[in-house]
Symmetry: C3
Subunit: 280 residues, 3 copies
């Protein structure tokens, strides 16, 4: 792809970058604390097209937060993004922590809740129009690990999103982890015979359903990451908006293998990538 | 929302209103008999927009019929809706009972079949163009209870539908149980810690897939209500046209919690609601 | 339907026609060899509309290839279709066999891999734009049988595809097994009480999700054919692009029963059919 900003979007780094927050002790209880600051930025989607976004901690998508089931999670949200925003978490929490009330520009708020039950979740702004607030960058993945850890694996995050740059309620560009075409130009290196655990989120608005297809392999599906037992094995999974799953697979043979929605309009406009499988 | 007719649409009443029909004995066998009359009506979608519909027993959606597995079901269908119509049930029955043959205006017919197997089903007109005949009101839910009853719960019906008021094959409005925005303005009161059993049907035409999302909670999914075992736990389920499921959950904390398709165009145009969780 | 070519499309024959290839012995190992030749042809979608296609072995869709888990499969691909093409198989194989590299017009190549694991898979051209190359005919089903055979059944193949005849990225016509409306005009005869095993593939491009609905019955779903255990029972299954499943059912009563996407635009434009259930 043409020259694109690697500052606000770093798709490769995002793959395996988990923010575990800071663990604190308060009055005999353990808190896992995260800081999320919303700001404004510009992303270069290609050499011709730039797009104003709202970043979280300087990046799009926002950071992948990670906790363990039962953790008391605290999110310090500071809004420096020019408009009112909020952070709504998918998870179990009281109404006061639901993150649908606006936080004015310049203000901060604290979201606090127990990370329970385990699963692959997400967070995003919930100010109307929500679609716009999500698409302009205010979203990220939130992983809650089960009490018994999953087997060792190369854990990788892939978030599918779209860019509606001309506000016509259609996406002109699509991306894995923020930048169109990035993983075609920069394949994801993984080891042969290594168990891969993919945390996949579909946050593409406007398109009612998006398929995720992996070449030359099949994956076990752990729906919403809320189970220790796979529900199916397949190579195409159809995902509605805000669906997210754990997909597990290993590649038997070295080489390059594409992954992409089995939909040209989405794949050809940026939601396409490759794994590069190398001998261990 | 602005003044809307509560006569032909009563979304709140529809939530927990099950038509069990009339049980009769005939020649030593038990029949569960229902009467469905199709008529014409006008619905006020908001103060500016009215829409001609075909009602069933004076309402849109049609009544939620309910039987027990193994019942002999008889539906007396009287068509007073001005055009030929029919009633096609999702279920097991002979071809003569499939409800694809037109019943002329002013005429009546009897559909009779065994309610088996159990599940959450639906019925709708099957006269071409079926999309139009469904969308103008000739549809409803049909619940067949399993032989061993499900555990006690607050059982609630939510039907997602769309309104294409200008005949351009797109929906301008969407609704839970017939009226756009109704459950945002009139939250559904439920008890804290109470098991909720949601019977959800997606009968929105034109939109290929619709997500159902519940804030601050997760639900167990019993697919098509045709199983006693949940297939997954999640907070977003993607539903194609005519998909319907049982979703079970309980709220731990009091307060208001939104539910809606995770798609702005659908939610913002009327398919949005709230649960109001109150202490028992 | 109006006069349509039965040469390049033979939907009825395709229902139960499985190409098991030729079994050869080479150096002490068993090879199952298939020949696929891509050519050009014209299909009559109706008396008014013809459409240029790329056929495989003279037909659209391409032949249903069938092997047993563990077979060494060899596909001799000869491209006589005027442009560069390829054949990409869904399955496990090394990168060299992934079928994403173009085979020039007039050239041939050999794809070879182990048919493993079992399932209902597919193959298609993977030359950009892939959507176009698939839709113009270069696709087919690829079944790999499990080591323990499935119970005896009437096994039937149904492939849903679309035709974008004016290149506007929308389908004007839809079809089961290549010809719009074919199985409405020519119902599929099956026996009463006979177990039917349907291999269904959705390869409709542009439409993000397509439902498959069967009248008057319910089917057990074996997802991607990659399991011996059904995951659900239903009468409506929503399928994204390249999803394919085994659906099993039996009809209790004789008569005609429709099957179709529960979406008018798709059904009314050709993706509609009937089973004709006859007493044994
Ligand atoms: Cu593939
Ligand atoms: Cu591909
Ligand atoms: Cu939410
Ligand atoms: Cu919401
Ligand atoms: Cu039906
Ligand atoms: Cu039908
Ligand atoms: Na746009
Ligand atoms: Na556009
Ligand atoms: Na409309
Ligand atoms: Na419109
Ligand atoms: Na077209
Ligand atoms: Na067109
Ligand atoms: Zn590019
Ligand atoms: Zn915002
Ligand atoms: Zn959300
Ligand atoms: Zn309103
Ligand atoms: Zn009608
Ligand atoms: Zn139906
Ligand atoms: Zn026709
Ligand atoms: Zn091709
Ligand atoms: Zn494919």
């Amino acid at each position: 792809e043409m020259a694109a900003s690697e500052g606000v979007a770093n798709p490769m780094k995002m793959l395996r970058n988990f923010d575990y927050g800071t663990v604190k002790q308060e009055n005999g209880r353990t808190i896992r604390e995260f800081e999320l600051t919303a700001g404004t930025s510009v992303i270069q989607l290609n050499s011709a097209v730039s797009y104003n976004i709202w970043d979280l901690n300087g990046s799009i998508p926002g950071p992948t937060l990670r906790a363990k089931q039962g953790d008391r999670v605290r999110v310090l949200f500071l809004n420096e993004a020019g408009h009112s925003h909020s952070l709504h978490f998918h998870g179990v929490h009281p109404a006061e922590m639901d993150g649908v009330r606006p936080v004015k520009n310049g203000n901060a708020t604290i979201y606090e809740f127990d990370a329970e039950p385990y699963g692959v979740h997400l967070y995003h702004c919930h100010i109307s129009p929500v679609t716009r607030h999500i698409a302009k960058g205010l979203y990220g993945m939130f992983i809650v690990d089960p009490p018994t850890p999953r087997p060792p694996a190369d854990e990788i995050v892939l978030i599918m999103a779209g860019y509606d740059v001309n506000d016509d309620s259609r996406n002109e560009y699509y991306a894995f982890n923020g930048l169109p075409h990035h993983f075609i130009d920069n394949p994801i290196r993984i080891y042969q015979n290594q168990l891969i655990r993919l945390y996949v989120l579909n946050i593409i608005e406007y398109d009612p359903a998006v398929t995720f297809h992996l070449h030359a392999n099949f994956f076990d599906v752990y729906r919403s990451g809320m189970t220790m037992t796979p529900s199916e094995k397949t190579d195409v999974i159809t995902m509605g908006v805000a669906e997210r799953h754990i997909l597990e697979f290993a590649f038997r043979y070295p080489g390059k293998y594409m992954f992409h929605p089995h939909q040209d309009a989405i794949a050809e406009n940026g939601c396409m990538g490759q794994f590069e499988v190398v001998a261990a």
